[in-house]
């Protein structure tokens, strides 16, 4: 049985992934990561994180497609999701709880994560 996970970060950029995990871990959150779109839904089912941080552009399956999969799945439809987007906001998919534009300030990321986790 895996340990309870606060945050599952789905991000294909190793440097961003390392930086985010470092920040959130130092804030006391249990953080895991997954580097691609393929297998991400299975990973969410397995770890049951309190929050998913989802990059929009991912190899294999895009963040928008994953978000649609989550919202269509009765067991995962209420999963809190923070979307990391490098695109303009006019093209953003519907369904994320919050969106953070890249590049983001670390303080903003930490504040949004705290807000979403406190709400769960």
């Amino acid at each position: 049985m895996p340990a309870a996970v606060d945050v599952l970060l789905i991000e294909d950029e190793p440097s961003i992934s390392e930086a985010v995990r470092f920040l959130l871990t130092r804030d006391g959150w249990q953080c895991e990561s997954w580097p691609q779109g393929l297998g991400a839904i299975e990973r969410i089912r397995l770890l049951a994180p309190r929050l998913v941080i989802l990059d929009l552009m991912l190899p294999g399956r895009s963040g928008a497609e994953l978000l649609a999969d989550l919202r269509a799945d009765p067991a995962l439809s209420h999963q809190p999701v923070l979307l990391l987007s490098a695109q303009g906001t006019e093209y953003l998919p519907q369904g994320a709880d919050r969106v953070l534009a890249k590049p983001f300030a670390n303080a903003d990321l930490r504040a949004v994560v705290r807000e979403l986790l406190d709400a769960t």
Binding site: E13, P14, S15, I16, E18, K102, P103, F104, A105, N106
Partner: protein, 435 residues
Amino acid sequence: MARTPLAPHAPRSQPSARPLIGTRIRERRLLLGHRQAEIAQRAGISAAYLNLIEHNRRPVGEALLVRLAQALEIDAAELASNREEMLLGALREAAARGNRDGLGAAVELDQIAEFAARFPGWATALAAATRRADGLERRLVAFSDRMTRDPYLLTTLHEVQSAVTALRSTASILAETPDIEPEWRDRFHSNLDDDSQRLSRTAQALVAYLESFEDDAVPMSPQEEVEAWITAGQPPPAEATELASDAARVMARDLLRWQAQDRGLLPDAALSAAVAELGEAADDPALIAARLGRPLDLVLRRLGMLRPGPWAQAGLIVCDGSGAALYRLPAPGFELPRLGEGCALWPVFEALAQPQLPIARLIETTGGARFASWAMAERLLPMGFDGPALSRAQMLIRAAQPRDQRPALGVGPACRICPRPACLARREPSILGPA
């Protein structure tokens, strides 16, 4: 059964056809210093009739044009040159642009022909400037499309943004975390080095790519590229500089495929032989189809592609069920508007609404040029009886015989630049005055 040449509701052209020719005749006569009576006598007509012609109140038939040209010591082709018609079209485009851009003064639309005849240099310069402005506008749209849809550009920009995101987060961590563990500090220093190098490489590639836009000589839509390729004589797609985009190359190959298919069904030699054997009767595509035992729609397309004998100056327009052009080859003097535009009165669209029904019409452009046209549409069932039927229509056009004096159906290039005020087929107001 072929239709009558003119539908009862169709707008008829005015008798003042080919206005520029009258003006040019007058200009030429005055240039030579002759009186109307002298030229009229040499041409075998009355001075009063010449006066009407010079004021664009009477059309000029081909035989009379030749006599007038001889009297005026000028080549008949030059006197009736289609170049002027094209120039008029370009000037109308310039007027449209002026209206759209909200110029302070209205363009004197009723004097376009006179302007072109009296100041050919200025008119040509204005037409060239308008074409250049149109070209630049198209480049801008093409670049805009590229900025939002180009996969390479999108990927590269994403790469830049990812590197910047990583650099910003990592640098902030190092600056704001004095008690960071040495292993993490070393790790982040290494990441900073990697990401800054990656950003540098990507930025250089991006600049080089953006600079290559300047060298791109064909910033057109795929359809426009294909049209340019057709005009260039359809060179092999792999070598054709006109086909800049992958989409255009795919479209060109598709076009070559159905042309080859048509050629297989009706080979060049068989069509040329039938045209030669039929003599004057080869002016009627239905008779050629009957002689060959081939469908009329196929014969229309093949005549427009091969252009044998009397069809050497023929034009061909093929469109799909939505009216979008699949193939456009203009006949000299039949002005084709920009892609995506057309006149709803073109027989090709009438044929589209009545598949399998052959339609023959005598049509007349806003400049007074008369053309014979033959159109037919067929239903295609690529998805079988269960699937939706698709349509394809073709129209073959050719300069009308001078002896054919039947009333003609007045058509235009496109509503926006068509000066026929009472046209019942109009879908948008014209920016031009009446013809």
